[in-house]
Symmetry: C2
Subunit: 348 residues, 2 copies
């Protein structure tokens, strides 16, 4: 279909926190759309959403919903993607999937456009959107990888509750209100809704995101480790992650230590690399107390980098603080950006 | 003075968050006290505090206040310590100072009893209590240092606002209440009261604790780096820190990566070392979602360790999550513990 007329786009999971941001981002980016189909579970079907002033009724996502759809943005959970993404592809759509269902599938490109846009050319119908905490980290690391190589990455995350969905944000608010009134809290959702134990998130730090693997790392931590290697095409890159949930509504932060492969990078050059990096805004001036913070990143598409320091002991070691809106670059915006890349590369 | 009769103890800064915990801890530990003198600024003098059921009037701290005092616990800010600690020593007292005034003074032992109690024998009247974030980390690292040596330490902190004093806790509560009511906040204290800019702490993460140094690290980060080297007698230990303030009232958490010097430490042995380490409680069972959290450490003297993992790439690399009550082991309890060690070693 000629680009001027636009594409038939579907959003699956249109009532969710990320789905709503996808609709908003498609509108803000003025993505070429001839028709927008909004899909959800049967439970949410029948409600409406607005796109460019038009009210659109959200329909139940079924295999036949994808007839004529060219680009389908999925964000309705892994099981929905596993069931319906192949159905969408069968009907001719390209799927950009925001769940973890296909991320490590070797036939599925895992894409952050600033890093590996070219991988889109090898798609077989499905393209995976990486985990939120992975995306913002690789955007900041890529310029260093390109110029000096990467030897080792150690990251500790400071993650917002919206990464666990809108219900987790409600839980944070509910608990905060209760504790401010000296009332008891009854945790029901975090750290993992389906897990047997739930813990207070208000005024607390919970070092568990997603379920535990046999090696003691959580699935969230393994996502950061494995996805980073795949996106950067560095299967033997040394990456380690510790992921922590915090009483913050929106905005993930990361304390990242990385080692370059070759020596010679100065701190001024490191800051310059970030200043000129695609998708990055450098906020780094200690004399002005300028550094990124989650409260300032909300609603912005960029990855914010600051607190850049050269390690005091190791010539190739660097530290930085990376912040981004986990619902945007971490999810909705990266998905829409992939769709834009598909159009630009004439892959759709 | 014979121990049975007890010692004349003074607490300087008796109305502060840490000072109050010191009084409480002296009582709970049943420290041998013949007389307790409570001192503060002239502003707070005249108020009272309870110790073992007795109401004690808090007096203005003056040089002559230390006549007859044998042990003086200081926690009233660096300038007070600089002025009055030498006056107390001149009058025969041993000073345990919780400020940063003397920590890096080579004539002053910097002591965490689980790590370097023996250093107390070299005191010249003043003993320094390390920074809160340093103490809990070295307690957890020491057993590894003893058995396998330490090569490198990289820590990212998750610090509570009470580390910045009672006014910072009030600010967190005030801002939280305002934001829950959709009102504006007017930050006045954090990250650093005397700094020109103040930032929202409620529902935010602020990657600045204390002022910035020329090398881009904050003073808090340099405290962790330099104090760790001094306490462990490892001037060339590679330590790096990133310190972050979070919307948590009490309880510092730390994501610690460390490398042993010699190989051979297994993950089971690492957990065993923590299980048997003095001052440490191991809380580490992923199958039970058991790990330390700040909300659970409040009011406890121990350092809680969990999320222990062997690095997936480097044989000598380990990750752990270290949590402690920053007002207790991080301040009041470590000070009282130093006083107990002084009695035990017959140094007072």
């Amino acid at each position: 279909m000629p680009q001027e007329k636009g594409f038939h786009v579907a959003v699956v999971g249109a009532t969710g926190a990320v789905g709503q941001q996808m609709i908003k981002t498609l509108e803000e980016r003025n993505f070429p759309i001839s028709k927008l189909t909004l899909l959800s579970s049967s439970r949410s079907a029948g409600t409406t959403a607005f796109f460019k002033g038009q009210e659109i009724t959200i329909q139940e996502a079924l295999p036949e919903s994808f007839e004529g759809v060219q680009i389908a943005l999925f964000s309705a959970g892994g099981s929905v993607s596993k069931e319906l993404a192949p159905e969408a592809v069968k009907r001719g759509a390209i799927v950009v999937d925001n769940t973890s269902a296909f991320r490590m599938d070797e036939n599925v490109p895992l894409v952050v456009p600033e890093v590996n846009e070219e991988d889109l050319k090898n798609h077989n119908g499905i393209i995976a959107n990486p985990n939120c905490s992975t995306i913002q980290m690789v955007v900041a690391l890529e310029p260093f990888r390109q110029k000096f190589g990467l030897g080792k990455v150690i990251v500790s995350t400071y993650q917002a509750v919206s990464g666990a969905g809108a219900a987790a944000v409600d839980e944070l608010k509910r608990q905060t209100k209760a504790l401010m009134n000296d009332e008891e809290v009854e945790p029901k959702i975090l750290p993992v809704k389906s897990a047997s134990k739930h813990y207070q998130i208000a005024f607390n730090a919970v070092p568990q995101i997603d379920t535990f693997q046999d090696n003691g790392f959580t699935f969230e931590e393994m996502k950061m480790i494995n996805e980073t290697k795949k996106i950067m095409h560095m299967p033997s890159l040394q990456v380690a992650a510790t992921c922590v949930r915090l009483p913050i509504a929106i905005g993930h932060s990361e304390s990242v230590y990385f080692e370059t492969e070759t020596a010679g990078l100065t701190i001024d050059e490191a800051k310059d690399l970030m200043k000129n990096a695609p998708g990055v805004i450098l906020e780094d001036d200690p004399s002005q107390q300028l550094y990124p913070m989650p409260a300032n990143c909300v609603g912005k598409n960029e990855v914010f980098v600051g607190r850049m320091r050269k390690d005091l002991d190791y010539e190739k070691g660097f530290h930085m603080w990376v912040v981004s809106d986990n619902l945007l670059k971490g999810a909705a915006w990266n998905s829409v950006q992939i769709a834009e890349s598909l159009v630009k590369l004439e892959l759709v």
